[in-house]
């Protein structure tokens, strides 16, 4: 796109750009609102509930109390130093917005700010992507890239209204940081690199994935140095960015001294050292003869390399530098997590990506992406090297972990926009029609007709593909990424839409009917939700900072009732919460997650818990009569299926998730726990630990005695309410 600098054309272009941006922002925000319109303004999933709770704490108690927050309502009895172990960027941003709106006389509920936070920031992301792509090619490509990133499902997946998560703000900051970095590196401007460093600081405060920037920018510089493209501009921008960025990032309590002590950050430090040497070398080069310089360079480089590598090894060996963190390490050695850290492998986001996921998240951008990278290679300016390094690195990461699709999507949009805009540069130019030939007459011959046909055809097909892309994105967003997963959509038998609201029902029950300091044991997935919605103390939550503590809950769930009772009693637990989907067919329930509980606790107590004991002799994972005795005795099994068969009026019930028959004699009776609440569709079941027997009997014999006594008395006849089951 040719840009005018003055005159009417300039104003028309500016107006058009503003109009385009307004519509892009409108599209970005509105396509993220499906869930608000369909359900309500509600926080989604798991992690957002913690962020929401932390934001409320921040708004209520102020910034300093927030930084010193010790949370005694999670990880009972350990507690969590929440203020020092979270990335505060997200909460402080929304609190700032809340205060700002209050100042200008618009008091908005903090929940609505949290829900609408991600859609609002997606507009900013689009603008940053526009600026970045304009630096890579031109503003035409920039507009396309902004349009792509605004509606690409790969980014929407983590930024719909209600998904109040670190990623929602992180992608915006990622693009802004990169935009400033490219500007700084092109111009050598200290101001721009300072901005890059400041936004890097913001990013560090918002998301653990900041390590990606910490490694990508040095990689860019390193490749440029290898290509012999050292310049003073590069030196100025990198050293400024590194010095300010590193010092600033160390101000975040959770990060602290990591930037100089962890291996994840050593590449940046190494490149910082290297660029000093190269700068010195280029100074020497301007002073001495070429032969002398070569010897000096060779000797000093070899010496420094050996010194640096051995120094790194020694420092790591003596523990001054932390080795790679587990999550980071599992990216390179893909089997590492599976063997050493089951808790990482158990998260579904950490699974490798199959090809349909790439296509699902980016549609036709995925095949424009390699074409765009190739086109950048043909020019290969300094900033193009950055895009290429980013593409290669993130393609690998996204292949290894599904969740890193998120960081790949922006660069796919940029590269695809470059490709499409180059195509439009060549084929959308119809100015020749209005051109006049030398003799002043309109030139409209065969030549012009052929050219018109060609250009209409090619650009026409691509405009059609763009239309299809919009439809695809809307369909994916509406069907796959707009469910809050706290409320589940469903259908009544007559086909009318219905909502399954069991989670909130049960959490509200907990909030209203239990003591304020009651402790609830559940699998870690539900920790944040219990904390956020029910406001009760939990043993473990989604923070997963203490593997042993999680293993304790896992052990309790996989042990027989009496042992589990001992474990839970020792941890002051009052209630046990299990998620059971067998009645309604909800497949993400605890029985399906149960093997992970077994595996994680086997990692700590290999002598007591053995995974193979939970399989049938032929190695199957079953819950019906064929299940192993260990499985049937496990607390999780008993709590999930307690009284389930009697619901069907006979001695057998059918589990709709696993399609197996549950017999009453396999489930048995509960001796140490009593059921206190079961939600409408049985998804959430709550049990209370019985108090110790007043007569000093053990609970098993006490319950057996009670049951025997009850059998003797005549059963009261009561009419059961009619149960209607939903599909």
């Amino acid at each position: 796109m040719k840009e005018a600098t003055s005159g009417t054309l300039y104003w028309v272009q500016t107006l058009l750009k503003i109009a385009i941006f307004l519509s892009i922002t409108g599209a970005a925000v509105s396509s993220r609102l499906f869930s608000v319109i369909r359900f309500e303004s509600i926080i989604h999933e798991f992690d957002p509930w913690f962020n929401f709770r932390a934001t409320k704490y921040l708004v209520e108690h102020g910034f300093y109390k927030f930084l010193n927050w010790f949370d005694d309502r999670t990880w009972y009895p350990l507690g969590r130093v929440t203020g020092g172990t979270l990335y505060p960027g997200l909460m402080t941003s929304s609190a700032a917005i809340w205060h700002l709106l209050k100042k200008v006389g618009l008091p908005v509920d903090i929940r609505n700010i949290c829900v609408l936070f991600a859609p609002a920031f997606s507009g900013v992301t689009a603008y940053a992507t526009y600026k970045l792509t304009s630096e890579i090619k031109d503003s035409g490509a920039g507009l396309l890239a902004a349009g792509f990133i605004a509606i690409a499902p790969g980014y929407i997946s983590r930024s719909v209204a209600g998904s109040y998560d670190n990623e929602a703000i992180a992608i915006t900051l990622l693009m802004v940081t990169f935009m400033f970095w490219i500007k700084a590196m092109k111009t050598g401007s200290i101001m721009h690199s300072t901005f890059a460093a400041l936004f890097y600081f913001y990013m560090v405060s918002a998301w653990g994935g900041y390590v990606f920037i910490t490694n990508l920018i040095p990689l860019h510089v390193f490749v440029l140095l290898l290509m012999g493209r050292y310049s003073n501009k590069l030196y100025a921008s990198y050293t400024t960015w590194y010095a300010i960025g590193t010092l600033a990032s160390m101000q975040i309590p959770f990060v602290g001294f990591l930037p100089i002590r962890s291996n994840d950050h050593m590449a940046a430090l190494g490149v910082f050292g290297l660029i000093q040497i190269v700068a010195f070398g280029s100074f020497i080069k301007s002073q001495v003869s070429w032969e002398k310089f070569q010897t000096v360079m060779f000797v000093s480089l070899a010496f420094l390399l050996v010194l640096g590598v051995s120094g790194l090894f020694l420092l790591t060996y003596f523990g001054y530098i932390a080795p790679w963190t587990g999550r980071f390490y599992s990216l390179w050695d893909t089997n590492y997590a599976k063997i050493h850290i089951p808790i990482i492998a158990s998260v579904s986001e950490h699974q490798p990506t199959a090809w349909p996921a790439f296509f699902f998240d980016t549609q036709f951008l995925i095949w424009l992406f390699p074409a765009g990278v190739f086109l950048l290679f043909l020019e290969l300016k300094d900033e193009h090297v950055f895009v290429i390094a980013y593409s290669v690195l993130c393609s690998y990461f996204a292949g290894v972990m599904v969740r890193l699709m998120l960081t790949l999507t922006p660069i796919i949009c940029v590269c695809a926009a470059v490709a499409v805009s180059k195509l439009f540069d060549a084929y959308l130019d119809f100015s020749f029609v209005f051109q006049k030939s030398k003799n002043g007459a309109r030139k409209f011959d065969k030549d012009a007709i052929f050219t018109t046909i060609t250009r209409t055809l090619v650009s026409g097909t691509f405009v059609a593909y763009l239309f299809l892309f919009v439809y695809h994105c809307t369909w994916v967003t509406s069907n796959a990424y707009s469910s809050p997963s706290v409320v589940l959509p469903s259908r009544n038998p007559d086909g009318s839409p219905a909502l399954i609201d069991d989670f909130r029902e049960a959490y509200y029950w907990l909030r209203m009917n239990t003591a304020e300091d009651a402790k609830v044991a559940s699998w870690w997935d539900y920790g944040y939700q219990i904390g956020g919605m029910a406001d009760r103390t939990t043993l473990v939550d989604n923070n997963t900072w203490n593997n042993t503590h999680i293993a304790i809950v896992g052990k309790a769930m996989s042990s027989p009732e009496d042992k589990a009772y001992e474990i839970l009693q020792a941890h002051d637990v009052d209630y046990v919460l299990v998620i059971f989907g067998g009645l309604i067919g909800f497949s993400g329930d605890d029985i399906n997650k149960f093997l992970w509980m077994v595996r994680i606790s086997e990692g700590i107590w290999p002598d007591e818990i053995k995974e193979r004991n939970y399989f049938t002799p032929s190695g199957e994972y079953r819950v019906d009569a064929a299940a192993s005795q260990t499985m049937k005795n496990a607390l999780m099994y008993k709590l999930s299926y307690h009284e389930f068969p009697t619901l069907f009026g006979q001695q057998e019930g059918i589990d709709r998730v696993r399609g197996q028959t549950i017999r009453a004699e396999d489930v048995g009776d509960l001796d140490y726990f009593e059921e206190v609440f079961t939600s409408e569709n049985w998804i959430v079941r709550l049990y209370k630990l019985k108090d110790r027997d007043t007569l000093g009997r053990d609970l098993k014999s006490a319950s057996q005695f009670d049951r025997a006594a009850a059998r003797g008395t005549k059963r009261r006849v009561s009419k059961r309410p009619q149960l209607e089951l939903r599909v």
Binding site: W367, V400, K446, D447, R612
Partner: protein, 351 residues
């Protein structure tokens, strides 16, 4: 554990002389093993003799059906793994005895063939394969345990089986010897040497080659396409290459209806599709204008309509090719994602 082992050995030594049934001694089993070159193959004629009676040795028996007609993919997967386990044991213990001489372990196998060894399968009452059976000494072939096959495949499964065998038998000298494929070692050694020598001899050319942008571009783009087509999924999960219909009548190239899963061959198909699309796109952007300019320069004396004509034909070809391959991609994606509503092309007769 230790004491009972000792006791058991004592008992077995005492009863050694009074064997009634015609069980094979360890020496004879070792001879059988040599005859079969490792794993003893069971058939209708020999199985009662080999596994029947009160042996002195532990036996691991694999019942399998690896022939492609039966279409048991797990059997095919298990074949090299079982061979690795057996060979590793035999390599260290040519007579089948453990180092302390207390335990003997032999491997046997029956690969289903209707006439030759169906009785073996009937004997063990097997109606699905593969089964890995474990026979303890001192008992006949009627009492046996089944060894659970771990879910993961490859070396993880081999390791798990060997560990559980070592634990149950009480031996600590069962080591796995991964066979070194000398062929690939030789090839890579020779290749490295050739490359190094060539690089040294043609130094300036090699340097120029390293500095060629196009070469890097093709390499980088190829690796990006490969990763975007799910290559890492195959490496991490060790996906099956292709699927087979239940009756083995037909090969499945796509794992239909599953967005989170794929066969190995899918990556290859998708790589080719993406590559064709990207190449056509590049041709539209770079090659077509170039060709037009070339012809314009060639005959700029005459009218340039020939150049425009060529531009039209080329652009049409590449656009049509993009359209067709892209429709194919959408079609393939519809296979994977049930309920996906969009398509670019409809085959009226086939669908």
């Amino acid at each position: 554990m230790r004491a009972s082992k000792f006791l058991w050995t004592l008992v077995s030594m005492l009863t050694f002389g009074f064997r009634l049934s015609a069980a094979l001694s360890n020496e004879k089993l070792a001879a059988e093993m040599v005859k079969h070159k490792g794993v003893i193959k069971l058939n209708n004629a020999n199985f009662e003799k080999i596994i029947g009676g009160k042996r002195d040795a532990y036996m691991v028996v694999l019942l399998t059906a690896s022939s492609p007609q039966i279409g048991c993919s797990l059997c095919v997967e298990l074949e090299p793994e079982f061979k690795l386990i057996a060979d590793s044991w035999i390599k260290d213990h040519p007579d089948g005895l453990s180092k302390d001489g207390e335990n003997a372990l032999f491997f046997a196998k029956a690969d289903f063939e209707p006439k030759r060894n169906n009785e073996v399968f009937m004997h063990f009452n097997v109606n699905n394969v593969p089964r890995l059976l474990f026979l303890t000494p001192g008992e006949g072939s009627e009492s046996y345990n089944q060894i659970n096959l771990p879910g993961e495949s490859g070396s993880a499964r081999v390791l798990a089986i060997v560990q559980s065998l070592s634990q149950v038998i009480g031996i600590n000298d069962f080591r796995i010897h991964e066979p070194i494929s000398w062929g690939s070692v030789l090839i890579s050694a020779v290749a490295t040497m050739v490359v190094t020598l060539a690089a040294k001899k043609y130094r300036s050319e090699a340097l120029r080659l390293v500095k060629t942008n196009a070469l890097w571009a093709v390499g980088v783009v190829f690796i990006i396409i490969l990763w975007n087509a799910g290559y890492m999924f195959n490496t991490i999960r060790g996906s099956q290459f292709v699927g087979m219909a239940q009756d083995g009548s037909m090969v499945h190239y796509f794992l239909e209806g599953q967005q989170q899963n794929q066969y190995g061959v899918e990556t290859q198909i998708i790589t080719v599709i993406y590559a064709i699309l990207a190449i056509n796109m590049l041709c539209l952007i770079k090659f077509v204008p170039y060709a037009k300019k070339y012809y314009q320069n060639e005959d700029n004396k005459k009218s340039s309509s020939k150049a425009s004509m060529i531009e039209l034909v080329l652009a049409l070809t590449f656009s049509a090719s993009i359209y067709l391959v892209y429709s194919a991609l959408m079609g393939v994606f519809r296979l994977k994602s049930t309920g996906y509503p969009f398509k670019l092309f409809k085959l009226p007769s086939l669908v």
